[in-house]
Subunit: 254 residues, 2 copies
DNA sequence: CGGTATCCCCCGCGATACTG
DNA sequence: CAGTATCGCGGGGGATACCG
């Protein structure tokens, strides 16, 4: 951990949060991730050693509390302290800025289908699911052999890298980049359907209900707002050819 | 520059801002620093190479604009773009959090007297200065031979590491840590005077006016608010022994 | 002043093996 | 599963010299 040697609150905060991965760890803790391996799954590329280092540092500075439940199994929980919870404002400011100024098309190396499904798993409207178990198969184009499954019940949601064995109820075939953009609010689900970037094969009732099972990304609203914001500024600057301008549609960008 | 490989606005923002020094560079640009060497002076410990690297990166991502005025001298200005200016929210969130949770007594290695004077230089109420040039000598205790000067005119303010030659109008003798705490709003100037942590030797009129020449740290208000905030929570938790509690005074902490 | 080019060292980090 | 201990490397970054 580097020390800037400046007696300044911004420098102190940057010392604590500036280490690689630390802000993403906080982001995930803020959205309810509590276990070591869950954090690790949400941060592909981090090594176990490094995650442990970062978590220890966060404990030392009073942002994270480690709680070991000795009762049932060796479940160790990482929870944000009060100080950690108040980082919500920092992460939110980063989110708003990132959505407006650091965002655009996904880079190829950002198209990790497993991470996407992992994120989706944590944003299921459990109470909107059908009563019976549902297995959804995702067939992502643009990545070789990217076929994974989501097993949805009202008790539990799991990402399967192997066929779960049960019958598949819904088959989603999608362009991975487009599905990511839908996830993040840059593209509307309906538009993606219409442009054949997403295809849902299931009994009509299920296919129609499918998009409602997901809350989509927590960042989607900010991303949409940022797009409108920037479009607004661009239009304002360019002078605008039409006085009554059409509501900006999310057009497929093929 | 590290890439997290996550299509997420927070990760994208962290990629751009997470490099060492970058947030402090933005902090200084936000407060009006515009020249390479001025940035360097405000960031003791950064190498010229690294500062140049960081500034180039910030240009590449559209946060900073480099403007070379070819007219007069070879003055090169670094200015925040619109995107850069909107980082104000991020830095502000860090400031608020840092003031509340990452702050406390200064660490010994943070007691750089030159940096303090450099900061003071940029927060002078130029219009409150006397009409004639004023030379203030600072005699910081706790550091060997830490004697420096501030030369104040309504045209220009400069930090002198050598005696500027002119007569000294005000001699400030102070404990460096305490003066830093006054600078940052953790200690009131008057209390520090009373506790002999700061001593001002000058003609009465000048001595009395001296503290009003400075705007003190831009972070001071946040720091004060954070102290009250935390005290409030502490009192609320401890139950409070007195029903009418005295307004929390900033007592000298000797 | 306002940087770039070069060299070289150190430590942040990944990989691996091991433990409760 | 939830980590710790150890080793080895690569590149981030400091020091220095140089240029416009």
């Amino acid at each position: 951990m580097y020390q800037y040697g400046q007696y300044c609150p911004v420098a102190r905060a940057a010392e604590i949060l500036g280490d690689r991965w630390t802000l993403l760890i906080v982001r995930d803790l803020l959205t309810g991730t509590r276990y070591f391996n869950a954090l690790k799954r949400g941060l592909p590329g981090i090594s176990g050693t490094l995650l442990a280092d970062r978590l220890r540092r966060l404990q030392d500075v009073g942002v994270v509390e480690k709680r070991s439940e000795l009762k049932g199994r060796s479940t160790t929980e990482y929870l944000l302290t009060t100080a950690g919870s108040e980082l919500r404002d920092v992460v939110h400011a980063l989110l708003m800025w990132g959505a407006k100024w650091g965002f655009g098309e996904p880079r190829p190396e950002e198209l990790d289908p497993i991470l996407l499904l992992w994120w989706m798993r944590s944003r299921i409207h459990i109470d909107r699911l059908p009563a019976e178990r549902i297995v959804v198969e995702f067939d992502f184009r643009g990545v070789e052999n990217a076929v994974y499954w989501l097993m949805l019940t009202r008790k539990d949601v799991s990402v399967c890298l192997q066929h779960p064995g049960h019958d598949v109820d819904v088959v989603v075939t999608a362009d991975l980049a487009s599905f990511y953009e839908v996830w993040l609010g840059r593209l509307s689900y309906d538009d993606a359907l219409r442009a054949n970037q997403i295809n849902v094969d299931a009994l009509p009732a299920l296919a129609c209900d499918f998009p409602n099972w997901f809350a989509w990304s927590a960042a989607a609203e900010a991303v949409r707002a940022a797009m409108l914001d920037r479009d607004g500024e661009r239009l304002a600057v360019s002078g605008g050819g039409t006085e009554t301008c059409e509501p900006p549609l999310h057009l497929p960008n093929d």
